[in-house]
């Protein structure tokens, strides 16, 4: 059962130009936490900004009983979060959402993360590593400073490739261009996991559908309740069956907060 209540902020550090890493001590939340799930946090104990912010679990530390949230300051809410001090308390709900599911037969996995979207992939990467499943991680961002976790992956000895829009690190271009090479390689991955901006996911889904590579994607959507009640965060899926792929009206909404945020790549429909 998800936890809902106050928890201690262990640390809240700036780790990039607009990136912060907040560690929260909450054994209740950690107990059931799985890679790909998220926490729903309040940014203030006042009424404005009103809504919680869904933030994916970037680290799940069962030993310490803590989770870490990696977030980017994009508005008032996340700005307030970034101001929270170690030793203080945060109002947190979680773990929420379904999380990633590593399929039985996966032997060689491709991981694709775009910008801050790479954050929820890290607990998954750790789990794959513990299960000795071969993996290649592709990270993409606008520029070097926005690449997250590269040092961490290098320390773990995980094969990692980087793409930046400005060419300041690794390949100059989109991470999907790096992905294409792997996806088309006959000796390449047999499964993939991805999280990042919708244009990246859309391109990746297109690529993998052509080659028949199966995988899971984690989606982001503006969220209200986080528990499946308000129906604000929905995404289009093929769950209801599709007779005519050209028919834009053939889709079924699923809830990102409870039926996601992780979806089978084959079922999501991301509009342009």
């Amino acid at each position: 059962m998800p936890y809902s209540g106050l928890a201690e902020v262990v640390k809240n550090q700036k780790v990039g130009p607009e990136h912060f890493l907040m560690e929260v001590f909450s054994p209740e939340l950690v107990r059931e936490a799985k890679p790909g799930q998220f926490a729903h946090v309040r940014c203030t104990n006042q009424m404005d900004p009103l809504l919680r912010r869904p933030i994916s679990l970037h680290e799940i530390n069962h030993k310490k009983g803590s989770v870490s949230l990696l977030y980017q300051v994009v508005g008032r809410g996340t700005r307030l979060l970034s101001g929270m001090q170690a030793g203080g308390e945060i109002d947190i709900m979680g773990p929420l959402g379904n999380g990633f599911n590593i399929p039985e037969g996966a032997r060689k996995v491709l991981i694709v993360g775009g910008g801050i979207g790479a954050a929820p992939l890290f607990p998954l990467i750790i789990e794959l590593e513990e299960r000795h499943i071969e993996q290649t991680v592709l990270l993409g961002a606008r520029t070097t400073d926005d690449i997250i976790g590269y040092g961490h992956l290098a320390a773990l000895g995980i094969r990692t490739e980087v793409a930046t829009d400005d060419g300041s690190m690794g390949y100059k271009g989109f991470v999907t261009e790096l992905a294409e090479k792997h996806v088309k390689d006959p000796a390449g991955p047999d499964y993939f996991f991805a999280c990042g901006p919708n244009p990246m996911l859309r391109e990746l889904i297109k690529l993998t559908r052509v080659s028949g590579l199966q995988g899971q994607v984690s989606l982001e959507e503006y969220m209200g309740c986080g528990v499946g009640a308000c129906l604000a965060c929905v995404c289009k899926t093929t769950a209801g069956g599709v007779n005519d792929p050209e028919d834009k009206n053939e889709f079924e909404y699923k809830k990102v907060c409870t039926e996601g945020p992780v979806f089978d790549a084959g079922e999501v429909i991301l509009d342009d």
């Binding site: 809902s4 009103l50 959507e221 503006y222 209200g224 309740c225 129906l231 604000a232 929905v234």
Partner: protein
Amino acid sequence: MTDMGVNPAGKGFNLAVNLGGLKMKNPVTTASGTFGFGPEYAPYIDLNRLGAITVKGTTLEPRRGNPTPRIAETPAGMLNCIGLQNPGVSHFIEKDLPYLREYDVPVIVNIAGSSLEEYEKLAGRLSQAAGVSALEVNISCPNVKQGGMVFGTSCAMASDVIKAVRRSTGLPVIAKLSPNVTDIVEIAKGVADAGADAIALINTLLGMKIDIQSRKPVLGNIMGGLSGPAIRPVAVRMVWQAARAVKLPILGMGGIMTADDALEFILAGATAVAIGTANFVNPGATMDILEGIGQYMKKYHVRDINDLVGAAWK
């Protein structure tokens, strides 16, 4: 469960209210559309402790709802344009209602139609289903083109809908009114004359938000309904006006976040209160509010919650 658990004020204090024939053990229910069909919040609160559960707006046929984004944050509030996404009344009766029957809590079903005939059919179907305690007639949804608010902003149409529902049900009929009108009193009187047993108000206020970067409306449906603390003073005013104009009990709602807020509505004339957006912020909001009302009664030696209803008029 101890008596204290059910009655937060303790022995000798009455929290039970009667909302137009709907007996509630306390005045706290949920606002339609913010609480799903109940199970969504079961991990966070004991549903049995609610005075009633008001479920998501239900239509005759399944509705897919509006395109995303469906939600936007605004100062001390939020806009939504869900568009009455729901699986339809048959699915509700077969799949959702059995779950709710397991609880000892009255179920208020919010119904929305796009014609008088649809309202009538919905009321008929739900009246025959075991476990429905009252109907909240949604004539105030701002997010659907046909039906919804169009029925609630004209006095004659609002009356016609209530009459149609009245004809086809013996359940208590609660008319949920739109605040997007010039004169709430006129509509309140209209639905009272048409046979409503209670009045719920307010639904959301029509609003919108524009993204100055993209220079486009934020919401997929352009406009949406404003809720949260931002609308509370408007809601309190409308409850006050409606409660003084008609004899029917009022289910007050609109930005109630705390027990203090809930008491404000009761003092303005609401017999019961519905908690909506607060659930998103605090999944335990209904219980905290119930607890707080009990503490207020104890502190000020109010033996019966009904003594507070409309007490601000005096």
